[in-house]
């Protein structure tokens, strides 16, 4: 290869890299831009890059205060914490067993659990609504937490099995010789070793909740109990016309928490996808 073709190849490669970055990022940047405009300025093409703080303040005040997205966000964080904690408490021991103990139908059981991850949510939305009504918890936070844990568990268990599989079995055997029970081995030996797996599984449960609105729309009626995605689904569905600057601001307010999380823990997200999909 001559020096010239090598340089051209490099240039083409870097141009491709830039194009990939633009295709990935520009829709999100555009949304940010729209959220800084007056309603009447939305029609400017291309949008101007002049920012007026008063307009930005107005848009975000409308969404955060008048449309009470601050309280929806806090509510979502609250529900996410409970669901993540419960899914881990229930899922960790189960994943540990699936990784370590072979019993009669363990293989079949773990595949059944994985298959639940593929269940179409529309197939269970109505029975979940009816069950939550039966338990007198429809339109309450508990009524959301119960099904959300059920949706997170298969994901959490599956990701954790992958991480447990990577810890050498000798560690368990050593603990066993010292007379530790499985519970003790799990709590005192394994959990410290599997911390990053716990983080990854927790993140995926959280991402699920920040994007889920189907079950939520069925179960929750009062505005005060809606999570951010449920509130979004009511406000900005394709069926409903809305002021674009406000809608874009709603979009930004929805995306920002997860964007921050994803920047901070990019590596974990990749681990989760590969652990959940490939192992």
């Amino acid at each position: 290869m001559s020096a010239i073709t090598r340089t051209t190849n490099r240039i083409i490669s870097y141009l491709t890299l830039v194009v990939i970055a633009i295709v990935g990022l520009s829709p999100i940047v555009y949304l940010f831009l729209l959220s800084t405009k007056r309603r009447i300025d939305i029609g400017d093409v291309p949008p101007s890059l002049k920012f007026e703080w008063a307009v930005i303040f107005e848009n975000y005040k409308e969404v955060l205060i008048s449309r009470s997205y601050i309280s929806s966000t806090l509510n979502t964080i609250f529900i996410t914490s409970i669901v993540v904690a419960l899914s881990l408490v229930i899922g960790l021991p189960a994943a540990y067993v699936f990784s370590r103990v072979k019993f009669g139908r363990s293989e079949q059981l773990s595949t059944t659990i994985l298959s639940l991850r593929f269940m179409p949510p529309v197939a269970v939305a109505i029975p979940i609504l009816l069950s939550m009504r039966f338990l007198h918890v429809s339109n309450t936070r508990i009524g959301l937490v119960i099904p959300y844990v059920a949706f997170s568990l298969p994901l959490v268990i599956w990701i954790l099995i992958g991480f447990f599989d990577e810890i050498p079995k000798e560690i368990d055997e050593a603990a066993e010789i010292d007379g530790a029970s499985k519970w003790r081995t799990l709590l005192q030996v394994q959990i410290p070793l599997i911390r990053s797996g716990i983080v990854v599984a927790g993140i995926f449960a959280a991402i699920f909740i920040w994007n889920e609105f189907l079950i939520g729309m069925y179960v929750i009626d009062s505005e005060a109990l809606k999570t951010v995605p449920i509130a979004d689904a009511g406000l900005i569905s394709a069926q409903r016309p809305i002021d674009w600057n406000v809608a874009a601001t709603v979009g930004v307010v929805t995306l920002v928490p997860l964007l921050f999380v994803s920047m901070a823990i990019q590596k974990h997200i990749v681990q989760g996808i590969t652990a959940g999909a490939v192992k």
């Binding site: 490669s13 870097y14 890299l17 990939i20 295709v23 990935g24 520009s26 999100i28 555009y30 949304l31 939305i42 029609g43 093409v45 291309p46 229930i90 899922g91 021991p93 189960a94 540990y96 699936f98 773990s110 659990i113 298959s115 593929f118 269940m119 179409p120 949510p121 529309v122 197939a123 269970v124 109505i126 029975p127 069950s131 059920a150 949706f151 568990l153 599989d165 499985k182 519970w183 991402i207 994007n211 609105f213 189907l214 729309m217 069925y218 951010v228 900005i236 569905s237 394709a238 809608a247 709603v250 979009g251 929805t254 997860l258 994803s262 920047m263 996808i273 590969t274 999909a277 490939v278």
Partner: protein, 297 residues
Amino acid sequence: MASQIKYESFISRHETKTLIGPALIYLGLFSIFPLLYSLAISFYEFDRVAGKWNFLGLGNYREILTDPVFWSSTRITALMVGAALFIEIIFGVGLAIFFGQKLKGSRFVRAILITPMILNPVVVGLMWRALLNPQWGLFNWLIGLIGIDNPPIWLADPKWTIWTLIFVDAWQWTPFIFVVVFARYQALPIDVFESARVDGASPLKLIRYITLPLLSSAIVFAAIFRGIDSFRNFDLIYGLTFGGPGRATTTLSFYSFENGFVYYRYGFSSALSYIMVLLATIGFTVLLKWIPIRRSH
């Protein structure tokens, strides 16, 4: 003290059961039971006015099979899953090989690429509705710059909307195929490539005869996972097209949602979604046949 000893010995005697029991009971109650409940509902009709359930037997299923919208949504679902998957595999694998070059700055771009996957689908729909707006959307302005002056109305022309949906799905989910395939790519032994290169294989031959075969199991895997997820997909449609215009983007999942949530036809909706469960189960069984999901110990 005595009770504590008793308690501990109970736990140690039934260790496996106490470890795994809570998860199985929970999933049984709140995952499997709703699924069976849904099957039961699919044999009934919910009379909203009287608040009563009337038994129909196979009535809902019979109605579905003669419902033209069911058949059109089956076709649209198949087209969407097939076309989106095709595009996502081509670009996802392409990206994985491209990022294998390890250019400077590619780490940063990879971080950007991961982002679309975690975004709320309703907001993704909103974002692209803005970009594709016929009056002021940035997309039409951009393609105007390269001389395309009379673009179709992407989200209102029934001929184009399904392709717009597929395009946005590809924007959001090509990174998934990329991440899975790239993880495998990074684990490939470098010396295989080196020796092939020493033997004088051209870059294209290298990809065709060495890289792709080595990546094939990861590709099939990612494709089946993505395929089933795309089959269940309803939230992006909710955010982008709401099934329209007309029925142009009504998939099975969306049709079932619409019947349940908008028209309160709980029985009909459940029967529809049960047909989906059956199809997904078939898909999943094929997946299991194809590749062992867990590495054997």
